[in-house]
């Protein structure tokens, strides 16, 4: 049995459940908006985890679960919590805590456990881990000193800035307009990075299987190309074997059964790793290229 946790209509969730259905694999969707109708009762006794969940009116025994795919959103942002009474909020919180704990301790394949996804909470922290895995990372400066930021820009010519955490994570070029606002960084440090130009590559690693996509764009952050009037053309791409292995090793090293690794291939043939997304919205790539990422996820969830 495979358990899929999140919002059933969300595209990555929907693609995974479609793939599971096509393959005839047993699965249940634990819809977080229906927490009130999905009781959880799990027992931890020694190293044994037993008990059951209720999903869409079905009882799922924890001991039957071989794989979990999770894309839970912050429970405080669920529509059902807006204006809800205190009892409902406490129940919602307790339900999500119990579920998150079970996901963390459940045997079998989990995409992904919180302990693995957390590296993305700090981009410079994750960059240190990425570099240890053998990837180049763009030279980075996190500072609250406008003069140092200017010197960094002068040294590298073009520099991007982005959040240090995973919150508000949009990458922008440090242009003249942004430079004029630099005195504001005195109250909260900002992350600056050498702008590495080249071809964007998104590598999805699914339990060791590598699916790569090439993105041609005229934007700094292709994910928001549409919002800023730009273009992003996605095509399937076959990475060199050594690079594919290195990506698989990086995901494994971070404890991620599913990872979205953002690379840039520069004009002189160097690969830079920008970051590793532990909860990738892979559907964006699958929808553009028809690469069978959801199918790989379904296959991987079956195996312990």
């Amino acid at each position: 049995m495979i358990v899929v946790c999140g919002i059933a209509s969300e595209r990555p969730i929907a693609l995974v459940t479609d793939a599971l259905r096509r393959r005839g694999l047993p699965y249940a969707v634990l819809h977080q908006r229906r927490f009130a109708d999905s009781p959880i009762d799990i027992r931890v006794d020694g190293t044994d985890v037993s008990g059951h969940l209720r999903c869409n009116g079905r009882t799922v025994s924890c001991s039957d679960v071989t794989g979990i795919y999770t894309r839970l959103m912050d429970w405080r942002l669920l529509p059902g919590t807006r204006g809800a009474d205190g009892e409902t909020l406490r129940h919602c919180q307790a339900w999500h805590q119990a579920l998150a704990t079970w996901i963390e301790i459940a045997p079998g394949r989990v995409m992904n456990r919180a302990s693995a996804t957390a590296t993305n909470r700090s981009k410079p922290y994750q960059a240190q881990l990425i570099r240890r895995a053998g990837f180049r990372v763009p030279e980075t400066l996190v500072t609250d000193d406008p003069d140092r930021a200017l010197a960094f820009r002068d040294r590298h010519g073009r520099v991007v800035y982005k959040s240090i955490s995973s919150v508000r994570s949009i990458v922008r070029l440090l242009d003249d307009e942004a430079t004029a606002r630099l005195p504001r960084i005195r109250s909260c440090p900002v992350q600056f990075q050498r702008y590495v130009t080249g071809v964007n590559i998104r590598v999805h690693v699914v339990a060791g299987e590598v699916v790569a996509t090439r993105i041609a764009t005229d934007q700094v952050d292709y994910r928001y190309a549409g919002r800023f009037g730009g273009r992003a053309d996605l095509t399937p791409w076959t990475p060199p074997r050594e690079l594919a292995l290195r990506c698989a090793d990086l995901a494994t090293g971070l404890g991620l059964a599913l990872a979205g690794i953002d690379l840039v291939l520069t004009d002189d043939g160097e690969f830079y790793c920008l970051e590793v997304n532990p909860s990738p919205a892979y559907s964006f790539y699958e929808d553009h290229t028809a690469q069978p990422i959801s199918d790989a996820i379904a296959r991987a969830l079956l195996g312990r």
């Binding site: 307790a94 980075t140 955490s165």
Partner: protein, 270 residues
């Protein structure tokens, strides 16, 4: 330089700092979390590739010297004018729990959440590149190591060989936690040593299991709470764990151990 990083009200950390100074760790600075987030100036750099500098976070056990390799560092000017550079730090007692932002005022709740996430992310990255010996090393799930639920601790403790009580995970809101019963004993694990409470009862031969638990939790320093139970293996049952044990309960021996632990450094990095 040695560092003790802690929350402002962490009396055990200040007690440990005084004891470590008495034992000869010099210079030793105590920096509280609020001081870190009120830096006058800060710069945190991550170089592009391996081989550009000295990796201070991954000592080579065979040579006893720091490895040439990764390079990440920081320099801070603290509010009182003190400078703090990661390259100058030999060892750290790290008891940070969060990055306080009481001194800042935000326009909205969203801005507050954003600033808290940014500062936590930055402090985590600072800690990651700090020193070859950091007790405890940071984790993205806790600045002083991975914070775990009681269920996770129970599984780890059982796997380590400690007797545990069963527990349930349900969607029913928990009752507020109650105080530990007076019979609870706390052991402090530091590396391969286990320290007991002053004059406390010996709790059977629990040391190997406690050390295994600390290792599996990735913690150099761990406080382990145990309830005496005549029916349990080794006469005690696991009752919880903390990455921030009150070191004072174990007295001078744990300070001696901590001193030795922090001073056990490759000669080149001192």
């Amino acid at each position: 330089m040695w560092l003790v990083l802690c929350d402002a009200e962490d009396r055990a950390a200040h007690w440990a700092a005084a004891g470590l100074r008495e034992r000869g760790l010099d210079p030793l600075e105590v920096v509280d979390a609020g001081t870190l987030t009120r830096t006058e100036r800060s710069a945190h750099r991550i170089e592009e590739e391996r081989g550009q500098g000295r990796d201070r976070t991954a000592p080579d056990p065979s040579s006893g010297a720091a490895v040439e390799g990764d390079r990440a560092d920081f320099e801070l000017t603290l509010p009182d004018g003190r400078g703090l550079a990661s390259d100058d730090v030999h060892g750290v007692v790290n008891r940070l729990t969060f990055a306080p932002l009481h001194h800042l005022r935000f326009a909205s709740y969203a801005d507050t959440v954003y600033a808290m996430a940014e500062w936590d992310a930055l402090v985590l990255s600072w800690l990651q590149c700090l020193a070859p010996v950091t007790v405890n090393r940071p984790s993205p799930l806790g600045l002083s190591g991975t914070l775990r639920s009681p269920a996770e601790w129970t599984l780890l403790a059982a796997a380590a060989g400690l007797a545990v009580s069963p527990l349930r995970l349900t969607d029913t809101p928990d009752d507020p936690p109650t105080d530990r019963p007076p019979s609870t004993r706390t052991l402090v694990v530091l590396g391969d040593e286990v320290y007991r409470v002053h004059g406390g009862d010996a709790l059977g031969d629990l040391s190997p299991a406690c050390i295994r638990l600390a290792r599996s939790a990735g913690a150099d320093l761990l406080g382990i709470h145990l309830e005496p139970d005549a029916h349990a293996r080794h006469g005690a049952r696991f009752a919880g764990a903390t990455l921030l044990p009150d070191l004072r309960i174990a007295g001078a021996p744990v300070l001696d151990g901590l001193y030795a632990y922090l001073a056990r450094l490759p000669a080149r990095s001192r």
